[in-house]
């Protein structure tokens, strides 16, 4: 019943109390406007043997950071703990955790055998004294310890919210260094939280706007390595790139995969005019989707692949339009004041994120697919290029500061507009593309 009600109210921001149902199991209802984060405790996981101690501590900290970073949870410091958890299988002293008001408790143990790491964990609803879901274990290499922490955090998140997580995911982006007039750009990939940055190109050519394939195995991006902007596809694991033969023009950019990963939609410039095209990747054949004298770019598929939302200035200013995936009549969906660009369809299909420019400010916003219920989530000198978390709850984007010392940084924000925060990268960062949850 609660679930049904929630889905009916989806998108409305209700200012209801965030407290979980009194008599039911612990549950954060994300659509009911979370204002007070849910208090939780992650006592350091129990190491099985000396070799596991550091991993156990580090994994516990990453789990806590993942949950805290959502803005939906608040960690209770270990200074407040009454109980110590010294054995994974010993009974939990619920009274001790209730006393410090921890509503959720995550306990776990870590074993290391050679290069193999195993993490076991349980999630507890402290006030009912019940386990949330069943205990689970993940195994992998010691090198991949952060991924195992993210997987545990994803489980906690989804057991408490009833929705999929997003922590065990990666983000492709453009790493930026140097002043504005000598900006050096490199394609890079990292964990969603900024860890494990890996560079995929050098800075000898301008690179723009990487886009993950639906399974995360490939990236589309635009590079000037021939002197002209052209689209490339890169195999992420092998770091091997191939130029796509976009026919008919010399400049192509703004590519994005179809949901089945078999074709791409992109912008092609011919005689100074930018139109949308679609390419079947197996055959390399392209077909035209739009044919107007306007600038038509930034296409993004609906999750079912049947429609494309894009940006066009055919009305005189850049606005958002939706058309069938094979082209045809487009319907304008943005009608507010200002200029709209870079629309991106949410993975759930219900919302479209966009960049809006109005009265000298830039905003990241969301609207329903018919253009209704527009909400602006951010405001700054220059925000642009939203990308969705795999569960459709968080948006990452580029924020550039103004002036001669202007610098681009990645930021994320909850779709409620709360929890705006920078994403840590070694240099500046722009054009994020949030990949899927990893297997």
């Amino acid at each position: 019943m609660m679930r049904l009600l929630t889905s009916l109210l989806l998108g409305l921001t209700l200012l209801a109390a965030p407290v979980h149902a009194q008599n039911g199991p612990l549950r954060l209802e994300l659509d009911q406007g979370i204002i007070e984060p849910l208090p939780f405790a992650v006592p350091n996981f129990v190491p099985n043997g000396q070799a596991a101690t550091q991993y156990a501590n580090d994994i516990s900290r990453v789990i806590a950071a993942d949950l805290t970073g959502t803005g939906l949870f608040r960690e209770i410091s270990s200074d407040a703990f009454i109980s110590r958890v010294s054995s994974f299988d010993a009974p939990v002293q619920f009274a001790d955790w209730k006393a410090i008001n921890a509503e959720a408790l995550v306990t776990g143990a870590v074993s290391v055998s050679g290069k193999r790491l195993t993490v076991q964990f349980r999630v507890w609803d402290v006030f009912s004294g019940q386990e949330l879901g069943n205990g689970l274990q993940f195994s992998g290499t010691t090198e991949g310890w952060r991924r195992m922490a993210h997987k545990v955090a994803d489980q906690v998140y989804s057991r408490v919210t009833g929705e999929g997580g997003y922590f065990d995911s990666r983000v492709a982006f453009v790493s930026e260094s140097g002043p504005k007039d000598q900006r050096q750009k490199r394609l890079a990939i990292m964990d969603y939280d900024g860890a494990n940055v890996q560079y995929l190109t050098d800075s000898s050519a301008i690179v723009l706007a990487p886009r993950f394939s639906p399974t995360g195995d490939r990236l589309l991006y635009t590079s000037y390595e021939t002197g002209q902007p052209r689209i490339y596809v890169l195999d992420v694991d092998r770091v091997r790139r191939t130029e796509l033969n976009t026919q008919g023009g010399t400049m192509s950019f703004s590519p994005r995969f179809s949901p089945d990963g078999r074709s791409i939609v992109y912008s092609l410039i011919e005689g100074g005019n930018t139109d949308l095209w679609k390419m079947d990747l197996a055959s390399g054949q392209s077909v035209r989707l739009t044919n107007t004298p306007a600038i038509e770019t930034a296409p993004s598929y609906s999750p079912d692949g049947s429609q494309i939302v894009f940006e066009s200035d055919r009305s005189g200013t850049p606005q958002l339009y939706i058309m069938p995936a094979n082209g045809g009549e487009a319907t304008r969906i943005s009608f507010g004041a200002g200029r709209y660009g870079t629309p991106v369809w949410s993975p759930r299909g219900d919302l479209i994120a966009f960049t809006k420019q109005n009265k000298g400010r830039f905003h990241i916003g969301v609207m329903r697919t018919d253009g209704s219920e527009e909400r602006l989530l951010t405001s700054s000198f220059l925000d642009e290029g939203p990308t969705w978390s795999p569960n459709g709850r968080v948006i990452m984007f580029t924020r550039e500061t103004q002036g001669a010392s202007g610098r681009a940084t990645l930021y994320s924000v909850d779709i409620s507009g709360r929890n705006l925060r920078p994403v840590r990268t070694p240099d500046g960062g722009s054009d994020p593309s949030w990949g899927p949850l990893q297997n």
Binding site: G227, F253, E311
Partner: protein
Amino acid sequence: MNVLGKVIALGALGVMAACTNNDPSALGGGAGGNGSIVPGSPSDPRSPAYFQQTVGDRVLFAVDQSTLSPQAQTVLQGQADWLLANPDFVATIEGHADEQGTREYNLGLGAKRANAAREFLISRGVAGNRLTTVSYGKERPIEICSTEECYSKNRRAVTVLTGSTLG
């Protein structure tokens, strides 16, 4: 990038030629009207440096526009005359935008600006196969402040000479 690199190299060559072949005082004196034309220097009407500095290698645009102003048309007429008189050169016209606007839209806008300049040169008799275009969108500003003073200089189409008997 390659194109840009070549042009800088050409310019540097011109300066080097001036340094090695001439009295240093000629450098400080600006373009000499005294008859001594230094090949490749701004005083040589057949040089890329002359094209860049005297003819004018760039035209500017109004916000979100790609139409050519009367001043822009005057500059482009000069470029057309020069290109017709110097048939060994080919050119790449770079279209640029200021930082107001999304990356994607600005790539489209830069392409329209470069194309507007190209079409004008063709209309004045320059062969189309001598003129290519590239859009840099907002990726290559020359001025880095965030005010109209800088923006107005960044909204530009720059005709960059590439390849000639000099190259």
